[in-house]
Amino acid sequence: MTSPSLTSEQSAGGQLVRFAGQLLTRSLGSIEAPLARFRAESGDVILDLSDVEALDTGGAWMIADLRRRLEAEGVSVQITGADPARAALIETVSRNMPEELVPEGPPGGFVAWLERLGKGVVGAWTDTLSVLGFLGLTLHRLLRCLIMPWRLRGASLVTQMEETGFKAVPIVALMGFLIGVVLAFQGATQLQQFGAEVFVVELISISVLRELGILLTAIIVAGRSGSAFTASIGSMKVQEELDAMRTLALDPIEVLVVPRILALLIVLPVLGFIADISGLIGGALMSWIDLGVSPGMFVTRLKENTDVWHFAVGMIKAPFFALVIGVIACWQAMQVQGSSESLGRRTTASVVQSIFMVITLDALFSIFFSEMGI
């Protein structure tokens, strides 16, 4: 492979520039600088291509660009020694030469930062309105399905309950059990210092039943099922399946969203209950091993000293968490635009937002219940 070169000399017709070697895109680096430095000395310029071994669009661009530059300076340019195919290529390239460089991306700096901030604030506000709108729409369709049960997709509901509920039982139970174990273990170390080992029962029961059982279940479900909702509905959106449904007079909310959210509303309290029970079992087991609190004593103290309201407070929160997870996941799926990259971004956002909202809601519930004195 001969690398390209150019030589310049004065001849009778004007300045003669000879190109030689392979003028190919992959070898242009070696003549880029000499060409950029080239200046017409006087009069006409003749570009001689007779020694050029190969020419592609990159090489043709070099020649066309040189000609354009020189002509802009008022020099007349002639191209010789190009066979018809090469001459045609140079003409094709000249015809398609971009007028000027398109700037890449918007300008940076303070103004751009301010613009991004403004866009962010407006975006957050419109997103909030949009989520609330979607919540209203979903509740309307949900209630309509409950009033007119024949509209409900039974098979879809059962499938979703299996996916989001039944298949989540092992991980939720294991998580609850481990939380119970950890609480008992950590609590025991602290309580032993005061000789108040037996209060470990209250520690475990209240924290698991009231807060941890349902909160951690909701977080697991948000990560497991929320992302699955966004991914499955979102990929349908990418492939225009939702539009196809609308043209077939099928309501995507009713067909896709309602069964998923209803399934979550049903299974999340059940999963929360499973987490509660396995948490208590884990706690009782650890108390027995570590503190010598027998299971019998554990149950007795649980019955006597733990108000049933602690359990109720946990369970009351479950459907709200379910609604938040389901609505955010399905709303994010509806926001997917065109590409699969957007699908990935929305799935991530769905999990992060629903976990964040679940924790926020839990904090609000805490304040509410303590104000109510429960």
Partner: protein
């Protein structure tokens, strides 16, 4: 083999250089045999149109040649390099000398059109950023896209524009061979004709070899030098399109003498 003419071997064939040589290719997906003992030659500087009914493995053949699909048996040589058993260095060399435009574009969705075209250049060329960008814009302009589309993302383009952008990316490294999968499917007739002209012009100017999977009879008549028909798990017949009408095979006859073929053939002759 009976009932179909043997591949035409003339004196000229021996002198031509085969840039792609496929021998005894067999492709299988589970129990389904797509190709069996398929032979095909593509000569330097020609436009080869590959046609065949749905499911005859046109795309699979293309994917096998560019090494995306590992065949069960057979050998594939591109520019003298064994695609299946060649060394890593050889493979990298030929990967730079072909460009593939996929049916749905397969543009990188997180990059703009210009960045898509620049992506292979950044990786393989040692030229200045400015020159690279200008060449990228040239490629975009060559395939008939307005320069305003440089900064657009693939999801903002129409199907036809996406195909053009895919061609621009395939041409980024000025390849010797261009593979096109259904290049004109989904384009309007004017856009498709312009695309055909473009391929023809680029092919003549750059001496490209074009391997085109297509269903578009207009394209076949307008720019293809030769047609290869896939049927019965192999290349049933190959040759200039004028010879296809005389082939005695039901599918080939139906395809090349149907009403649409007649209209395309008249149009092809008049231009």
């Amino acid at each position: 083999m009976d009932g179909t003419p043997a591949p035409r071997t003339t004196q000229a064939d021996a002198e031509r250089e085969a840039v792609i040589r496929v021998r005894g290719l067999t492709n299988r997906f589970g129990p389904q045999v797509v190709h069996e003992n398929l032979d095909l030659d593509v000569w330097r500087g020609e436009v080869l149109g590959v046609v065949g009914g749905s499911g005859t493995g046109k795309s699979v053949l293309m994917r096998s040649i560019v090494g995306l699909n590992k065949p069960a048996a057979g050998s594939i040589e591109v520019l003298g390099v064994d695609v299946l058993n060649g060394t890593e260095a050889d493979r990298r060399r030929i990967e730079k000398s072909w460009g593939v435009a996929f049916q749905y574009g397969a543009l990188f969705s997180s990059l703009t059109v210009l960045q898509n075209v620049l992506a292979p250049m950044r990786e393989h060329l040692k030229i200045s950023e400015r020159l690279m960008q200008e060449l990228g814009e040239l490629k975009i302009s060559l395939v008939g896209l307005p320069l305003t589309s440089c900064s657009k993302f693939p999801s903002e383009l129409s199907g036809g524009m996406r195909k053009r952008a895919a061609l621009a990316r395939a041409l980024a490294l000025d390849p010797e061979i261009v593979f096109l999968d259904e290049p004109t499917a989904g384009l309007d007739p004017i856009g498709a004709a312009a695309y055909d002209d473009l391929i023809g012009e680029l092919q003549r100017a750059l001496g490209l070899t074009v391997f085109m999977v297509t269903h578009d009879l207009d394209s076949l008549y307008a720019i293809c030098d030769r047609v290869a028909v896939l049927a019965e798990k192999r290349v049933l017949v190959e040759g200039p399109i004028e010879d296809m009408a005389s082939v005695d095979h039901p599918w080939v006859r139906e395809y090349f003498t149907g009403p649409r073929a007649r209209a395309a053939s008249e149009k092809g002759r008049s231009t």
